[in-house]
């Protein structure tokens, strides 16, 4: 009888030990990182931001909501230049080799324009170096390069907005260890609606195609 009780006791202990142990192990492993965060109750942050500006096309880069600062420290959004023909490039003012040539190539287009054509044209330089290119620094740069700020804008923004604009234009860049940037050498021509009409790649190349494409674009006066 005694041994019978002992056997029952052993079985019970065995059962309790195993089930408790199993429970403890599974309950702890269920808590691991697999529980995914729920998206409930969050407001839509980025949807309406990017809704198309009513008059621009579906392929217009003016659909971005990025707010830039120009060389006068005024806010600037790309859609403000809607209606104009635009020559645009990404650059950084500390760039000693390529960017001065890019600027020079843009000015080659500018030189070929008549007074009437110039009134409908905008030239935009967007800095990829927001940390160093403050509006003040951009203004100094513009003055030193004798840039006509009636029709030129030099703008700076957030790294995130630069990344987006670079993606829109197909521009590749990367910050190097010395603080300078490796980047595509590229000038982009936009029509009055903000569609990319022509991309000019390289440095010191013949600008005649880019210039004639630009001159032939329609615009709103």
């Amino acid at each position: 009888m005694k041994t019978y009780l002992k056997t029952i006791l052993t079985v019970v202990i065995l059962f309790v030990a195993l089930t408790t142990g199993y429970f403890l192990i599974t309950s702890s492993s269920n808590e691991k990182v697999l529980d995914k965060d729920e998206a409930k109750g969050k407001s839509s942050c980025c949807g309406d931001e990017i809704t198309a500006h009513s008059s621009v096309s579906e392929t217009s880069i003016y659909q971005t909501s990025a707010v830039w600062r120009d060389q006068e420290n005024d806010e600037f959004m790309l859609k403000e230049i809607e209606g104009k023909r635009v020559v645009m490039a990404l650059f950084f003012s500390n760039c000693s080799y390529a960017c001065p040539i890019i600027l020079n190539d843009m000015q080659k287009i500018e030189e070929k324009l008549s007074d009437r054509e110039i009134g409908s044209s905008k030239f935009i330089l967007v800095s990829i170096d927001p940390d160093r290119d403050t509006p003040q620094r951009l203004k100094e740069f513009a003055l030193s390069k004798k840039i006509n700020m009636d029709r030129w804008k030099l703008v700076t923004g957030t790294n995130d907005d630069v990344l987006e604009l670079a993606a829109l234009l197909g521009f590749k860049y990367r910050k190097e260890d010395n603080g300078d940037f490796s980047h595509t050498n590229m000038i982009v021509i936009l029509d009055s609606k903000g569609d990319i009409i022509h991309t000019h790649l390289g440095l010191n190349k013949d600008m005649s195609l880019a210039t004639s494409v630009f001159k032939n674009l329609s615009y709103n006066q």
Partner: protein, 272 residues
């Protein structure tokens, strides 16, 4: 007889205690990593994939949080529902090509053919970036992704782990299979991050930072007329074929592209 039973009871008690201690260990482990589905990656450094002028460059990575799992169809559907401009049929052409969410049935459901728990694919860079913002997160940088992906199951630096490298190459060599596997089914890596390899390729924030134009591993044809760069680009370890494939793949992407095996996960900075 009695002695045998006593020994038996003692053994059972020992097993019981060991189980408890294991369970508690596991619990402490998961407490430490309770970041709402994210995992803490400690700061560190690795040898950069690309060679710099002075030889192999050391890339520093700050600590950050990473999603343990890739974003799933179900996750992305909630995003699309809350943000109409990112729905399958209303996305703007400039932000996604025509294959955007092509495996989904329509705007409000992905249909019964699609596993809700498999990683979402056919999504553009603009879309995944908007998703990350909506979640108050961000995309990983290339360096961060490679840093976490460097690990094998056991080691923080799995670069010399032949089994891991072989597995990745085997997976890269068979693309195009229909994606039905759920996330989190493979073994996690050293940091308890799942599915970095084996299911999908992943978008990174700076996918467009790769300025190498050529296609061969010994590429010296960095075109200084097209790109303004500090030095010529070549790679630190030409045997690291898997890394090279990822760099080449990222370099070929444009932000509006959607690809049938390209998905994403998010990261977040640590609250200071």
């Amino acid at each position: 007889m009695l002695i045998v039973k006593n020994i038996l009871c003692f053994l059972l008690l020992a097993i019981f205690l060991i189980e408890i201690s294991f369970a508690q260990k596991g619990r402490r482990h998961s407490d430490k990593k309770d970041f709402d589905g994210m995992v803490l990656i400690p700061a560190g450094e690795m040898i950069g994939f690309e060679k710099k002028e002075k030889g192999n460059a050391l890339v520093k990575v700050n600590s950050f949080l990473i999603d343990a799992l890739p974003v799933t169809n179900e996750d992305f559907l909630q995003f699309a529902k809350a943000n109409p401009v990112w729905r399958k049929n209303s996305v703007k052409k400039i932000f996604a090509d025509r294959n955007y969410l092509t495996h989904w049935l329509n705007d409000s459901t992905f249909g019964s053919e699609v596993n809700p728990q498999s990683p979402v694919v056919n999504v553009s860079w603009y879309a995944v970036r908007a998703y990350a913002k909506w979640k108050n997160k961000r995309l990983l940088t290339t360096d961060e992704w490679e840093y976490v992906a460097l690990t094998s199951q056991k080691k923080a630096n799995g670069k010399t782990d032949d089994v891991k490298n072989k597995t990745i190459i085997d997976w890269y060599s068979k693309s195009g299979e229909k994606l039905i596997t759920s996330v989190g089914m493979q073994k996690p890596n050293y940091y308890k991050v799942y599915d970095l390899h084996g299911l999908i390729w992943e978008w990174v924030a700076d996918f467009n930072s790769n300025l190498v134009t050529g296609e061969s591993r010994g590429d010296k044809s960095f075109d200084s007329n097209l790109f303004c760069g500090a030095g010529s680009k070549s790679f630190s370890d030409v045997t690291d074929y898997a890394s090279f494939m990822r760099y080449a793949f990222r370099g070929s992407l444009k932000a509006e592209y959607t690809v049938h095996n390209l998905g994403f996960r998010c990261a977040k900075n640590l609250d200071k």
